[in-house]
């Protein structure tokens, strides 16, 4: 494993994101959807209703950000290179497919985490400053905050590998993006159900989901590496 080769692709990816208006728009618009809804709900809640939040976790709704933002970006990872004709030159260099995929995954993970955590911090500060104090203390509970911090990278990791896996098997960027977002929806649904109190969170549930996601993230890298068939990607036919 060469970290220098990984860094080369990682830096290239970040430079490309910065100069791609569509990617910037995706990163900017998608997260807003997941911030506005819980904040409106929290700011509109009177102090008398604060106790209802003890059975709900509206901030967990924001876990949709690490689920959807990376999926949209990761979908571009392989098929995008194919479409602009850059995959072949890259694959003729000494880079291994595992290194290429890890670099691509990290290049999606880092901005996704920055956006997710930044919006989370902004939301917490806004709630602490502007929400009713009883509501704020009902929302800002340590277990929920820890869950948010811990699950953000785990969910993002899963979405990234799903996105890259789809990207490695499709021939069109738009199709890859639609499929990736679609494949991430189950994660969004689960977090939304927890946020709205349909599924009651517990330590046991959190541990179970956490371990499952950790395992899936690890397996995802291997699985997607296996899906990455140089010959099919270059010639369009199976080896």
């Amino acid at each position: 494993m060469s970290w220098r080769r990984i860094r080369a692709i990682f830096r290239k990816e970040l430079r490309e994101y910065r100069r791609n208006g569509a990617i910037i728009a995706t990163m900017a618009v998608l997260p807003v959807i997941f911030v506005i809804e819980p904040l409106i709900q929290i700011f509109n809640l009177p102090a008398a209703s604060a106790h209802t939040l003890l059975h709900k976790d509206p901030l967990l709704y924001m876990l949709g950000i690490p689920a959807l933002v990376p999926a949209a970006l990761a979908a571009y990872a392989v098929v995008g290179e194919r479409q602009q004709g850059t995959l072949e030159p890259v694959l003729t260099t000494p880079i291994r497919r595992e290194e290429l995929l890890l670099a691509k995954a990290l290049a999606v993970l880092v901005p996704a985490l920055v956006i997710s955590y930044a919006l989370f911090v902004v939301s917490i500060v806004a709630i602490a400053l502007f929400a009713d104090s009883a509501v704020a203390s009902a929302v800002l509970r340590a277990p929920q905050l820890i869950a948010q911090v811990v699950f953000t990278p785990l969910i993002a990791g899963w979405s990234i590998w799903v996105g890259i896996g789809i990207s490695a098997r499709t021939n069109d960027t738009r199709v890859a993006q639609q499929l990736s977002v679609l494949a991430s929806l189950p994660t969004v649904v689960v977090t939304a159900l927890i946020a709205f109190g349909v599924i009651h969170p517990s330590l046991k549930l959190a541990l179970g989901l956490g371990i499952a996601l950790l395992v899936l993230d690890r397996l995802g890298w291997r699985f997607v590496s296996a899906l990455f068939d140089r010959e099919r990607l270059i010639t369009g036919t199976r080896s």
Binding site: S2, A8, P89, T93, E231, S239
Partner: protein, 322 residues
Amino acid sequence: MSAPEQQRAPALTVQHLTKRFGDRVAFGDVSFEVGQGEVFGFLGPNGAGKTTTVRTLSTLIAPTSGSATVAGVPLDPKHGVEIRQRIAVMPEAPGLYLKLSVAENLECFAGLYEVEDPAERIDRALHAVSLADRADDPCGALSKGLRQRVALARSLLSDPEVLFLDEPTSGLDPVAARDVHDLIAQLRERGVTIFLTTHRLEEAERLCDRVAILNTTLRMIGSPEELRERLFARSLVIRTRAPLEDPEALFGDAPAVDGWRRNGSGEYVLEVSEPEAAAPAITRALVEAGADVLSIAESRHSLEDVYLELIDQDSELERRPA
């Protein structure tokens, strides 16, 4: 190539290499060697399997059967990284990141090749293709010719032992193509082995030490001169002011002349085994016969003639009922 160079192990050895996609044979039973420091031309019509051969030798796709060594390393999945560390490939399409600058593109690839002192290497590569002053330009703003040059600079970054150039002058104007030719000549002087696929036969004739003509199978291999000699009889072409009265008497018994005919332009074409022996004797005979000789010259077949002859032979075979 000098004698010590020829004694070294070949840069490329290909033995009975075949690649099939399902029932379709991309190339079959191809065998050849390329010496170190040689410029080797790989010619063939569209769909002949040239690009697939390059992709196979550069480990992008796996051969169906046969074996090869590339830069001294056996071609198999275990040695993919090792081979790719020793070679560079310039595909037909430049494949640049258009939103990144020229320097950023090269920086990425310098990282992928893990080159020492990347800034110096990038600078050197850009100077080699006369693009040093365009380093900060986005690749998307460059013309096709300049993009091709960036791709060439990219392939020089790692100082490869074997450089695969797939149609490097495709779509370039004559001046840009000449620059690429000059660069190939410089690389040859530095001892880089170059595997050049091209449609431009005059390019191959000018640059290559040897050429191979591929039409799914390897049709012929050798220096352009050898190919000409193998495929075409040597001949003398004689132009006279007026038709000769008795050409058979003049040419029939002349030394080293195997036969003669008159072509559509009224010239006499003599098939000869040794033009050096035949030409003086024929000249004397013509003068003695009182003929007004305008010119006597050895007919030169171009590489294009060789190529077209071979491809025509293949087409003829395909047309014949089984």
